[in-house]
Symmetry: D2
Subunit: 308 residues, 4 copies
């Protein structure tokens, strides 16, 4: 079948390639004319000539509203727009209603797979109406891994992005779990070869996983991660997950802790710790102690430096 | 080679079988004579007739001290004892010194694999001296999975159990992460089929793992886990991991949060929450509000019921 | 001066009394005619006859929009509306703009004090323009405690409710801190009189506070809190605080942990713990162990029941 | 009455002064002869001439064992030793038994008050037998604040230090709570004067406390804490509290989170965050995205940079 694909960046470009390998026709559009298959959005739509038009939008969240609104005027009843970007699930209902008013279908699709997706397939989580899902199914089949897994119609409009968001929330906590274990092993005197321990865990353990495999790859390249900055960025999904959990009254202590650990890593200073230090100065002469000569801590000279 | 194996319970029994499949001779001892290969501990030792004697102790932690002490008198310089149970790593140095005084070698070995180990092999994390590890290597090779992974000489005495402890600490947080994500999906109105979402994650996603596979198995049997009690037991390792982290100054927010979530699940009541509720009663007439008729919350009758 | 007060519930009623004690005229309105000073909202506005009209809205959040919109048509340029309820700070800018279009001033005012406020005064956190604050200052002075503290012009529109929200977020974590300490003392064998320990902390300690005083009062009435349900409700502010922190990239581990503890206490079952238990069943025969007779844990019969 | 006081550091020196103000005789000993009242420990003991001898040890934990052992040989049945330092409660039973064998009494006494104690009195939490407490009561009365609070006989041997440990654990979480709230206010655009907000909270609020007062003092000196390092030290008690909670199965999420926040602040780099960053590099070309020119994020050029 034919499909229009808006956004040919790292993800969109690879997805175009994988869909084409699946035997379908992709008319891509990207503002960067060197990689675009069409002059502009209208040209892309015009090149879709067979049956109902299907357009996959693969853009950063801040450009989705504008693009959907432009497409409304170019499409006709019975056509379908898929938002495959990392959009917030709360936007999906709005887009679905905006398009329904014109008779255009809408699907939200969370996509996982990153740079590995081109070769192994992308995991797809889709929200929307069953008839619309059915129409786009050949494209989903081309994108997903060659196995019985990797695709789900997760529910109504928004369910696809919600499922992808939760996937990423879980991912945050899984990563933090391995990271905490790694730091602990690095600190233990008895332990001599942390990378080998992680590598050994790849088989036979309860904690074997794809993320563990990646951890091993990273430790092979840099056994103590000396070349890596200690800053962990976060994308929207981790924040949205915690916010959604709070709104739904769901306790998510590990996902929240993972997110907060990243926040701290992103700070140049740690304001809360300044406040803790300031309070300690106030109540305890902790600063005073720090300024005293070391020898006051020897027996008989001592006292109780922290008797607050 | 020959090996004595003390403790033929669920783990020990299966390990005997797997070692035998590897072509080795196992003389097992268990107080339960129906499954034991020997009359008593001394009889087991006596049946080990080839070269240095190797005895694998596979007992709950509370019986290890006693058994090691009994074995000291039955073994000779050059022999080796392996503690393969879920012992605390801090015990290992003590056992190593106790045995070294008699010229007997000691290895600590963390074992992962559970009921799946018999078929797929056990992941082994070993601490102790290289020469001792080399002597027992044929047994390790029989127990481990048939792949290049699943075995590590992790370091000095204690390193094996330390690595296994950290493995379990990580496991706690991984499990909690999936559990939080599952609860969140269950609460989302848009989402219609949570088991299918989990199943779809088995391929192509960042969070695919053996634990995810088990989660899917559990949801197949009981889609909303209605038949499962909401009590999550904890074994020693999770607690030891947090205590070790605290002693080493390592922040482990997700592992600790996972452990605390299990503690709460084990409580018949939640004392801290009683205290929160009691304080709310004191400062705010929260109880008073609760006792008022609903209609006071309608407009114009209202007020600010929580203006503390 | 004169002021109109909408909502004469628990908070509003007491505030009317305290403002009157301060020598001012309050025309209250409540749908409950037994406690109302006016027939309806219009009648209340009509009774305000001196200078610019000042109306204080003291309603649950869900009724504020409607009431503000009704008041717009009854007020004139130069008049002022104060939202003193537990409104979300993000609503304040909207209300300020809605009113500014008609030349009416707006102040948001977070109010703390609960049932104690009538006697000791209410702590007030106000957001909005300085000229508007100045006009209402006599009312603020009547409401606040008789000390130099208890009132702040916190910043622009929304700052009052934001400050109050943060106040409540801090409150959540403070309460949880005392509750954790209390539970720990209750569990320690050596400790014989927990209420007396809490009482002793009222003087000379680092942790003395008003909340501690309330804790002592609660323990005097019920030394082990046997009569209190272990359910801790949460109001909007705790949730808003965590959401605001997430949006601003601020790590709030203790405030979030406090909120999640309350969420868990509110659940009839604990879904995440079901999932943990289900996974344990899958990987480990933990259920199998549980079903085995106790005696398998004796030495020599043993094995390693948790060797996953 | 007479008392010997070992350790005249910051705490011990002030306590000597306060006990003397209470009308008692203090024979202090400190290795620093300039501040000592006695030549050595034996000389101090010799100068205690009235009735049973009472010796208060006020030393850092690492010197307590040695000093207690020295005192055993200098004291007689019926005498009493008090450990008033920040000792671990688990040491107290051992000391009590060591001394009981010689007929010497033992009390453990947690002391709070810091540099403020000299003027306002020290809060005292005492563990041990009632008869021993009664004998030392005049000294406790001299040290404690002049109010009905500030002293408790908390229970058996160890209960005093346990109560003090929990006090400090609570303190960690209280401090973190204010610190989180402060950081959040600092980040909010609407808020213009954070120190004034904190100051206003001193009266009429739920969160008023001595720690809040100290916070206000600190903000008066340095409104944004620009001169304070963002490193929060921890002393033993916070760690002991979390370890004790883990051993007793008590969930302490806020106390643990407070401790971990300090751990992170003490790290030169944050190892766990390196691991998170390394994993992100592996799975997602996150580094690759970072290296791409900014313009790829504009519409139509876009793609989905985080579609893992």
């Amino acid at each position: 079948m034919q499909i229009g694909l808006v956004g040919l960046g790292k993800m969109g470009g690879n997805m175009r390639e994988r869909i084409r390998k699946g035997g379908h026709t992709v008319i891509g559009y990207d503002r960067n004319q060197e990689i675009s298959d069409s002059k502009d959005l209208q040209d892309m739509v015009n090149q879709l000539t067979e049956g109902p038009k299907v357009v996959w939008v693969m853009l950063p969240i801040q450009f989705v509203d504008e693009t959907v609104t432009q497409l409304v005027d170019m499409l006709s009843p019975g056509d379908i727009i898929i938002d495959g970007g990392n959009s917030k699930w709360t936007n999906d209902k709005r887009h679905a209603e905006q398009l329904k008013a014109k008779g255009i279908g809408f699907l939200d699709c969370g996509v996982s797979g990153g740079i590995w997706g081109l070769e192994y397939g992308y995991a797809l989580m889709v929200g929307g109406e069953a008839a619309d899902v059915a129409m786009v199914q050949p494209i989903f089949d081309a994108l997903k891994p060659e196995s019985e897994y990797g695709f789900v119609h997760a529910g109504a409009h928004g369910a696809g992005h919600f499922a992808k968001m939760v996937h990423n929330g879980i991912e945050y906590a899984l990563m933090q779990a391995y990271a905490e274990g790694w730091e602990l092993l690095e600190k233990a005197e008895e332990v001599t070869d942390v990378p080998k321990i992680f590598e050994s865990w790849k088989e036979g353990t309860v904690i074997r996983s794809w993320l563990l495999d990646l951890t091993v790859d990273a430790l092979h390249k840099d056994p103590h991660l000396d070349k890596i900055d200690d800053i962990a960025e976060d994308s929207g999904e981790g924040r949205w997950t915690v916010n959604a959990a709070v709104d739904l009254g769901v306790p998510v202590p590990t996902i929240a802790a993972s997110l907060f650990a990243r926040f701290v890593s992103q700070q140049e200073d740690k304001p809360a710790m300044k406040m803790i230090a300031a309070m300690r100065n106030e109540f305890g002469g902790h600063a005073v102690v720090a300024a005293q000569p070391e020898k006051t801590m020897t027996p008989g000279e001592g006292g109780n430096p922290k008797g607050h």
